[in-house]
Subunit: 437 residues, 2 copies
């Protein structure tokens, strides 16, 4: 780590007569903001630890072999190609100095005139070390690929053991948390169990593979309408998923999942989808800056409280109001809307005009459980089933960045639908070390 | 490692009244053989260290971001899905006991009635440790992805240094070996340099990126016709590749490439494509079994010399004759043809009928250098340029396994052609440790 200001020119960003806006994070919020600032009289530096934007809502399809990772990722440099005065740097920001208007990263320090923290969220294990050490998460493409490898490796290993308990544990899944991620993953695994496993592993009784979805509350998809929640549960049961409600997972040692009831599960594949927290960065993560969920507290202009030139948007930002005492949901829509508005507001700020407060337009939410099985809550229209499934696909397809990605995802979905198949079931980077040998 | 015969049932392959044929390797040769043996009165166990078949001729497009890895890989289990009495095991074979008719692997031992070694080839560094330690190879999908990451990481790093020599080294490539792999990779890099880099890195003088193709002999693509060789060299020069002939690379310390002449190169990305050797396995790798290139010596029936029930096919097999004193070329075509014939021959052997000797049908060879630039040598027709390029694409597209893969590759190629683009320029698994932090 280089000391702050160790080199004037450390990231090789040229001096500019325009104000420098540094954006941390190329997710939905950061990219929406960057697009708004294109071709304006500003210098923009976008930093991300990956050189690509990830379309997170489809990560579960990468984990289950339905899509190749490359088709839900998009090079950030390509997004910025036509924007003058834009600089991308592959960097992990470690600290923000709010006094000196400087950020610190693994590639050096950088001064800013305005800073926008759009660093997103990360998995929240609520301090449970055993679960953190032994379970899988699915927030990034590498994590999703690890899960894909682990699932496939476990089935290969299940073939080799004569210990029935161990074989069942290798073939069984526990997904903790029944939000959209947990529900969609459970549904996709159920379809694989039904459509792929019996053909791929004729010498294994794959009927014994158990898919358990465990939820501490008494309802799944709790942010959606009661109808959607009920129907999603029906769909999961039709697909053979065991839905466990009012059960809280308390530990996981790599083999046995214990809960707050008598219930335990033997499973080698546990996915933790039961919590996220804001990815607040050092310098803005002290008690006065963040909520309990580690999200940076912002005012209605996404301004960090008490600091005029630093903003936070998207999952990492918590904008509290009477209607949303814990901030807006940590989803793509608020992130995109905040990114767009902040683009306009920064330009207004530079023009010394008053900024516009953020008002969230809830465009609804949706989840897919499986083939022809989805639930959609629009503001004025809630529906479930085949039509919902088509709407889900259409919306996700057109939300993807890039024509090539949309086309490749479309081809995959048509193929998977017609052939009941998932062809990306490849162990490219083994996750378990023992199989690496 | 378990001792031989430690457990009767170690790989959980059931006993069968049919003879057991064990195939090591799911490459072109192994898969062609497996298909021939489907629905016959044999038990087949196919072993591979990956759970997918790799279409190696297109690996260079994975390294250069033109194709996603998943579209040139195909699940081996899917190939075998409809074949009764077929067993796939994810295993790395470490030893063959030719006396006891047993193989030894990381998942245990297995007895065979017939054994077919189709383990392919690996990179041959000819004992040069400095090159082996510091250069990249491109024989597998993980290796190709490592190269993709390294290239992109080096460009990101080039942005950060003010040391001009280092920046040039980060932007420069040395490809050693001007066979099809080296030529195709050099051409693809030249197109990226021209079409992508200036847009992706506007703040970097990417004209300084040098692509050097170094060849110890006096001709490139030496297995092809003189016309193809000459034209390929013209194409490379048009694309701005520096072609160095009669230069032998002698060492590479990670920064400086030295040669047997005064010529040296400063480069952080050196790809070794100057040699392969057979991947002979312990037990069949002793002097009496293998050629100088570590290929297993076989007779005209692909039988290992002196052993009736063990065969070798594809790259790992060296079938010497007057016309081919060093065996057939280590390419897809001889592998596929030997796999197919051996399938028939094993069935003949079981029927106690005489086997048919292998005769190689040379269907020609081809290489693509870039957009509209390819060279094709058919037995009776040799041509270069746009038409050759279309033929190259057509042949490769239809040689891919699987409808989905063909469609996705086709979409990518059309997109890349129209847009002069390569969208899979993603650093999903960083290769350089320093950027992992």
């Amino acid at each position: 780590m280089l000391p702050l200001h160790s080199k004037f020119f450390i990231m090789n960003i040229p001096k500019s007569s325009f104000p420098r806006i540094v954006i941390i994070g190329g997710g939905f919020a950061g990219i929406a903001l960057a697009k708004k600032l294109s071709k304006q009289e500003v210098q923009v530096v976008l930093l991300d630890k990956h050189n690509y934007h990830t379309f997170q809502p489809l990560l579960y399809q990468v984990s289950t072999g339905g899509l190749e990772p490359d088709s839900i990722a998009y090079p950030i440099r390509k997004v910025l190609q036509d924007f003058p005065n834009f600089y991308f740097r592959l960097a992990k920001v470690s600290e923000i100095d709010t006094e000196k208007n400087t950020i610190q990263s693994n590639i050096g320090a950088l001064k800013f005139d305005y800073l926008v923290v759009a660093s997103g969220s990360k998995t929240n294990y609520f301090g449970n070390k055993s679960i953190e050490d032994n379970s899988m998460e699915m927030k990034t493409i590498p994590q999703s690929l690890n899960l894909r490898s682990l699932i496939l490796e476990n089935f290969e290993e299940a073939l080799l053991t004569s210990d029935l308990n161990r074989r069942n544990a290798l073939m069984s899944f526990v997904i903790v948390g029944a939000g959209p991620t947990g529900v969609e993953l459970a549904g996709a695994l159920a379809e694989i169990k039904k459509g792929i496993l019996p053909k791929d592993y004729p010498d294994l009784d794959t009927r014994l593979a158990q898919i358990n979805l465990v939820q501490s509350g008494d309802t799944i998809l709790k942010t959606m309408s009661p109808n959607a929640s009920k129907k999603a549960e029906d769909f999961l049961e039709q697909l053979g998923v065991n839905v466990w409600k009012n059960v809280r997972v308390t530990s996981y040692d790599g083999t046995t999942v214990t809960t707050d009831s008598d219930l335990t599960f033997e499973s080698e594949t546990v996915v933790w989808a039961a919590g996220v927290k804001g990815a607040a960065i050092k310098g803005l993560d002290a008690e006065q800056f963040v909520s309990r969920g580690n999200r940076i507290l912002v005012n209605e202009f996404n301004q960090v409280k008490g600091i005029d030139n630093i903003f936070a948007i998207g999952d990492v930002a918590q904008m509290e109001s009477e209607s949303v005492p814990h901030g807006h949901p940590m989803m793509a829509q608020p992130a995109i809307q905040q990114g767009k508005l902040l683009g306009d507001n920064i330009l207004k700020l530079l023009d010394k005009k008053p900024m516009t407060p953020f008002v969230y337009k809830d465009r609804g939410s949706m989840a897919t459980i499986g083939r022809n099985k989805a639930v959609v809550d629009l503001p004025n229209f809630k529906f479930q089933g085949v039509f919902a499934w088509f709407v889900w696909m259409f919306v996700h397809l057109f939300s993807l960045v890039g024509f090539r990605n949309r086309t490749v995802v479309f081809i995959n979905w048509v193929y998977n639908y017609i052939r009941f198949d998932r062809e990306a079931r490849l162990i490219i980077r083994p996750y378990k070390k023992k199989l690496k040998s």
